[in-house]
Symmetry: C2
Subunit: 292 residues, 2 copies
């Protein structure tokens, strides 16, 4: 069994991006991402800080715009319009969740597709399915593909089974694996799947993205499979100062021994998401400035 070290792979990606950012800095171009945060959700604050720090660590410019919970749909759209028009801004990310009175789909779609580095807009989802070269894939799915590639996991002809059909992980990762670049056979399972274990046991590559702690047990995994655990669940743990610990969607302790490779939680898929956001932002910057 080999552990897929997401922290190390993400750092390698970031080091490569830093070198590219330095190279283009010579022409006076600095990739710039703007993150919009609405309200004071503690998790959102922490995510946004992480994104800002990472951007700065590789020489990118990062700005955060803060708005009160009470901001209206129209006001938020106006802010996005201004950033769309601002040529110094290459990537725009709207941190979710947004307040209940805001239409999230419309907000994500307000961002110009070429600045939608989060890949959540309808346009980028369509482009991903169409395998268009200007598609931005959502960062977690893109990070999963990057993890597989950099761990030497071949996907062509392999059977990838994805558990979970969410818009932000299950569906886009299925499209990436199915593409003419990856050429995997792809199965998508979910809460309605009959005899789930019989399906997951066929996976050469098993991707768990359900959001249920330790849901994937040893009997659901084929010996020698590659297992990617996208879940980040808090479970109560009295031995921890915080009162909880983080576990994935996979029963790691019992599944890991029979895998060829597996991602841990934390330190697996998680760190890749932010790295891929930076990669998308650099790509956006380069596409918006073709004639350097």
């Amino acid at each position: 069994m080999e552990l897929i070290n997401g922290n190390a792979i993400a750092q390698t990606v970031l080091d490569e991006l830093k070198a590219e950012v330095e190279k283009i800095a010579a022409s006076g171009l600095v990739p710039h991402i703007v993150v919009l945060r609405v309200g004071n959700d503690p998790a959102s604050i922490s995510y946004v800080n992480k994104k800002e720090k990472t951007a700065q660590s590789i020489g990118m410019r990062s700005s955060v715009r803060l708005f009160p919970e009470t901001i209206s749909q129209a006001e938020l759209e106006n802010e996005i319009d201004a950033l769309n028009a601002d040529k110094s801004v290459h990537g725009i990310l709207i941190q979710s969740p947004l307040p209940a009175h805001i239409n999230e789909t419309e907000i994500f779609n307000r961002v110009l597709p070429e600045k939608d580095v989060d890949g959540f807009s309808t346009a980028n989802i369509g482009r991903l399915v169409q395998e268009l070269p200007d598609a931005f894939a959502a960062c977690t799915p893109a990070g999963i593909l990057e993890l597989l590639e950099r761990s030497g996991v071949a996907t062509a002809g392999k059977h990838a089974v994805i558990v979970g059909r969410s818009q932000i992980v299950g569906k886009p990762v299925s499209q990436l694996l199915l593409s003419r670049k990856s050429n995997a056979t792809v199965t998508i399972c979910h809460s309605h799947t009959e005899d789930l274990a019989a399906v997951t046991r066929q996976a050469d590559i098993l991707i768990a993205a359900i959001g249920r702690p330790q849901f994937i047990t040893r009997d659901m995994v084929k010996p020698g499979a590659v297992v990617i655990d996208v879940g980040i669940n808090r479970v109560p743990d009295a031995t921890k100062k915080s009162g909880f610990r983080l576990v994935g969607d996979v029963d790691f302790e019992n599944v890991a021994p029979i895998c060829e490779k597996i991602t841990p939680v934390p330190g697996g898929v998680g760190p890749m998401t932010v790295a891929m956001l930076m990669k998308n932002t650099l790509a956006a910057c380069l596409r918006q400035n073709p004639a350097r």
Copy 2:
């Protein structure tokens, strides 16, 4: 074994649409589809004629615009822009194939999503994945779902295996089957799939959309499966006046006896495609005229 009669089901759909068209005619509203045809491809001429006849048979308005092979990208885009702006036009369809000098993706994306009754635009593909209510699904995949539903085939929890990952059938039908309306477990296979027969034999619902005559043989099908054959292939046949006959992607003669239900070719999926185009056009008309 039960034959799924696509001709009869398509006619039922058309009869229902005709009744709805008559109902809204009272308010002076007539659904109007415009088909753009470039050049003189014989198959395109026949498809376009079929669409026009069908529209007229249910009381819809249909117009055909013909353009020479030599039309430029910009000229074709101007024509589409004019139709987008014309409030009397509810649906716009660009008959493919287009000449090689035309960028087909850009042409399909020029059509306003709300008039894109063919469902080929990036916006509608994205909306389909996002399961947004205003998505127009491509007509063949939508026709497959309609066939299943009207034949009493339950999809929830069933394992649907799709052979073929094309943009016009395999990918969109996978999204429809995976949706929270259908709730099927979905596997997509293609030319790179290893041990294809082992995968297809798991299908409760098998959808063949490869474009290879009689590719799906009896050993690839589980007894009791529902088989949907999307292929329409010409094979030489000296006994026919035309010199060829039409066969599907399924070896019908040998597969049919072990199926619960199966579509024939011709007379299965084919007739549904035009019926769904009419259904999309009526829906487009109603959405564009909410306040009748």
